[in-house]
């Protein structure tokens, strides 16, 4: 009778978001089907699920009727190699996009994550230093609005200023503004050569790397309590260029050149059940962030040359979490950045301010009210309870 009857099935034991079980799950296979589903589901609260790699991060939804699973919305629609772009359905696994023939979507996200999920969660990793983040790589987007209407923004060319850049608005929106069904990405050539340079070096050495003319693609730090901080630098380019630059870097840092990254590269620094945060700050304050985390007994890891890092703490007593977060947030504020809690030990989330102060929050509420006036999409999962 309705699309809901055709597509929605009763939720199973695994269809749970941050402890909140869903009633139904539906997996549309096209933008049109998704639009019909969402139009029919207009009285339901909805959470969108891609590969599920970050689904359990963040606060639980206030209410959850329907999980829209995007994994049937999969596949590369177009790979225009000569134009360095690809059009993909939102449920396409990142593994497929990391290995297009001769080219790549240079966005670090888990292989099982989906394109739409990586965009919605604003995933990023070590190579953001060179290639930017999802907001920089997404050039076009198709969405189904919470009212079931299909809208597109951007296009298939990298250079395009026609109309508002809605792709940026949907990037990192965590599914609170509707469903992304298709993404257009700019691609980059697979580099001819790569090398890593690893060294035991303090975070202050990052400034020396940036001052040198080495154009690294990633500069990652890993620092834990009671151990010397490590740096790992990725250089990409031509065979000759990479050899020269890696050798120069190795001298600069008194480090070694390797083919492979260290085991901690692009992995979260928190253990299962632990406390995980994203910490950001200006470049000159990265050493202070490293000190703040390690002094508090945590591990800090991430992009030291962009100021986007993650901190992890083993699961301790939940009662200690608010104080710890407050301390890290104070350090992040001094660094002009933010401390956002991504995951916390059981019981520690209640009453915890996961974001801290968010500039422009009032305008964000107004955007949400326009796009999703009934607050049905991922209610309570976003900043300020949006």
């Amino acid at each position: 009778m309705s699309v809901l009857d055709d597509l929605a099935v009763k939720a199973g034991d695994d269809d749970v978001v941050c402890g909140v079980p869903a009633r139904f799950v539906a997996a549309p296979a096209s933008t049109e089907e998704a639009a019909a589903l969402i139009a029919a589901a207009r009285d339901l609260t909805v959470v969108i699920r891609g590969g599920g790699t970050k689904l359990q991060q963040g606060p639980p939804p206030r209410d959850l009727d329907l999980i829209i699973d995007t994994r049937r919305l999969a596949g590369v629609v177009e790979h225009a190699a000569g134009d360095l772009i690809t059009v993909v359905r939102a449920g396409t696994p990142m593994a497929e996009l990391h290995a297009l023939p001769g080219q790549q979507l240079a966005l670090d996200a888990p292989p099982t994550a989906t394109a739409g999920g990586a965009v919605s969660a604003n995933a990023s990793g070590p190579r953001r230093l060179r290639y930017g983040t999802a907001r920089d790589l997404l050039i076009g987007v198709t969405v189904v609005r919470p009212d079931g209407r299909i809208a597109r923004a951007g296009g298939k060319v990298v250079k395009n200023v026609a109309g508002y850049d809605l792709g940026k608005l949907y990037t990192g929106a965590q599914g609170t503004l509707g469903l992304i069904t298709e993404c257009v990405f700019r691609l980059h050539p697979v580099p001819l050569a790569t090398a890593f340079v690893r060294a035991t070096a303090p975070p202050t050495a990052v400034a020396r790397i940036l001052a040198a003319q080495l154009a690294p693609s990633a500069v990652e730090i890993n620092a834990g309590p009671g151990a010397s901080p490590e740096l790992a630098v990725l250089v990409e380019g031509t065979e000759e260029g990479v050899r020269d630059r890696a050798a120069t870097l190795a001298r600069l840092l008194d480090g070694e050149v390797t083919d492979l990254p260290p085991s901690w590269w692009d992995t979260p620094p928190w253990p299962p059940g632990g406390l995980g945060l994203k910490l950001t700050g200006v470049l000159s304050a990265v050493p202070a962030l490293v000190e703040a985390v390690t002094a508090a007994g945590g591990t800090i890891r991430g992009s030291a040359a962009t100021g986007a890092l993650h901190a992890g703490f083993p699961s301790g007593a939940p009662t200690g979490t608010p104080g710890l977060v407050d301390g890290l947030r104070a350090a992040a504020t001094r660094a002009e950045g933010h401390a956002v809690v991504l995951t916390a030990p059981d019981g520690a989330l209640d009453g915890l301010d996961m974001w801290g102060p968010v500039p422009g929050l009032e305008l964000m509420r107004r955007v949400k009210d326009q796009f999703d006036p009934d607050h049905r999409f991922a209610p309570g999962r976003f900043v300020g309870g949006i």
């Binding site: 060319v157 003319q213 500039p359 326009q370």
Partner: protein, 485 residues
């Protein structure tokens, strides 16, 4: 409240000389870089501080008077075209570099600061500001933010939106709000990303935090002459296919070369039907290897002469022809329309042929100067307004070129913006729902529609409309799948 009453209020809030209402003075501001659109504003405000900008906007909001922000007025789509019953807020008095922070790779500047000035002050620290619109010697950062300005080097480095990390804006309510910051990844919606390129329809930027880019170790510039644009286009595709991302790849056709030659004597190779300017930058070791490759590919695709800039002066000479092309065309034609459409790079030869066909069939000359690397065309459609029918024919050709860009999956504008000039083309590129969705953002920021009305969108959306809510039992409930919701 009349404009007179608004003027009294603003003169009290600022100083009298910061508020212009004299018709002669107002006429100075009647157009931006798109000079054939002219509207005299009702009032011009010249604020000196962010607080004064906020006061002007608040005053406008209070009485429902529209306002338009203007930086240096170099825009090419009429984005800063005044409103006849509105206030024009000129930000050129806000022109201080507030802080230069090379250690953080950031600079914080006021919106009236000139684009090139950011690079100039950063240079001694080994940095520059990457977006480089052709007007960079006079255009303002605030205008760049409004238009998401690009430039020749955005092929490698991206656009304004990739280089602005934080803004202080005055919302259309007159509130000062911060979006983003000096650090990356501010939590919440990327309103900064929505604001950049919104052409002044979401508010007025009063402070801009920009990313500074490390000056490259080496820059190498090559000029390659071809017999025609097909070969130059093929060379461009070959360079990109080889995995090389040059800082810039620019192309000029025979007519634009002729114009540039007449204007600035750039000395491009005689007999060239097209020239490519390819610039590579980065670590010396990388650039050397890539440069060999680029030279080889130009030769392989029919370049009959290549020149390499031996020093900065020679590099400037190569660029002079390209950068002067728009102005130079004025020497071979009394009037011209500049288009800014984008096509997939691989469609370049085909689209150029079709532009040629359209132009020939209407008896109109088109000079092509463009950012070949990213498929951003700048066809200059030549005409003489004094000759009856020429302007209409030029406009027909211009519209046909835009249609070609859309047909090939491109865009109606790559860097100049929609403004007033291309608003009526938006429905050719976007559906009603697409435009409605963009305007949801507009409604969130500016429900009264006072910020730069009449730009971008061919028809405004009434804000506050809510989609109909359904009543009665839910289909799942009706069909017995679920008992109750």
């Amino acid at each position: 409240m009349s404009i007179d009453a608004l003027a009294v209020r603003l003169r009290a809030e600022m100083t009298p000389d910061q508020v212009l209402t004299d018709r002669q003075q107002l006429r100075t501001y009647e157009c931006d870089g798109l000079a054939h659109y002219r509207v005299v504003p009702a009032l011009v405000a010249l604020p000196h501080t962010a607080a004064e900008v906020a006061a002007v906007v608040r005053a406008c909001a209070g009485v429902g008077v529209p306002f338009v922000a203007r930086g240096s007025g170099t825009g090419l789509s009429g984005g800063a075209l005044p409103h006849a019953e509105g206030v024009l807020i000129v930000t050129s008095q806000l022109r201080e570099v507030l802080s230069l922070r090379p250690a953080d790779e950031r600079a914080v500047v006021q919106p009236g600061v000139i684009n090139l000035q950011v690079s100039t002050v950063s240079k001694e620290h080994g940095y520059y500001y990457a977006p480089d619109p052709s007007s960079q010697q006079i255009c303002s950062i605030g205008g760049n933010v409004a238009e998401n300005a690009g430039g020749a080097h955005c092929l490698k480095y991206g656009f304004t939106t990739n280089h602005v990390t934080g803004l202080e804006v005055v919302t259309p309510d007159g509130d000062l709000v911060r979006l983003g910051g000096a650090a990356p990844d501010t939590p919440g919606y990327d309103l900064l990303g929505a604001f950049v390129g919104s052409e002044g329809t979401l508010g007025v930027a009063t402070e801009v935090t920009v990313r500074l880019t490390r000056l490259p170790e080496t820059v190498r510039t090559l000029l390659a002459a071809f017999h025609g644009t097909d070969q130059a286009g093929a060379a461009t595709s070959a360079i990109i296919a080889a995995g090389v991302v040059p800082a810039a790849i620019e192309m000029m056709d025979a007519l634009s070369i002729e114009a540039a030659e007449a204007a600035v004597h750039c000395g491009y190779p005689a007999g060239a039907g097209a020239v490519l300017i390819v610039e590579l930058d980065g670590p010396s070791a990388e650039v050397a290897a890539q440069f060999e490759e680029v030279s080889r590919l130009c030769d392989a695709n029919g370049a009959f002469e290549t020149r390499v800039a031996a020093d900065d002066d020679e590099r400037q000479l190569i660029w002079r022809g390209r950068k002067s092309a728009f102005a130079a065309v004025g020497r071979i034609s009394p009037d011209y329309i500049v288009q800014d459409g984008v096509i997939p790079r691989t469609a370049l030869p085909e689209v150029l042929r079709r532009i040629d066909e359209v132009a020939s069939s209407h008896g109109v000359r088109v000079a092509n100067v463009f950012h070949a690397g990213d498929g951003n065309l700048h066809p200059l459609v030549l005409f003489d307004a004094q000759v009856a029918g020429e302007e209409e024919r030029a406009e027909t050709v211009s519209g046909a070129i835009i249609d070609l860009c859309i047909e090939y999956g491109g865009s109606i504008t790559g860097e100049h913006g929609v403004g007033v000039e291309k608003a009526h083309y938006m429905p050719r590129m976007f559906t009603d729902t697409d435009l409605d969705t963009m305007q949801l953002v507009r409604c969130a920021f500016d429900p009264g529609g006072l910020a730069n009305p009449g730009k971008i969108f061919p028809t405004p959306r009434l804000c506050g409309e809510r989609p109909g809510r359904r009543t009665g039992p839910h289909p799942l409930q009706e069909s017995g799948v679920a008992e109750i919701f």
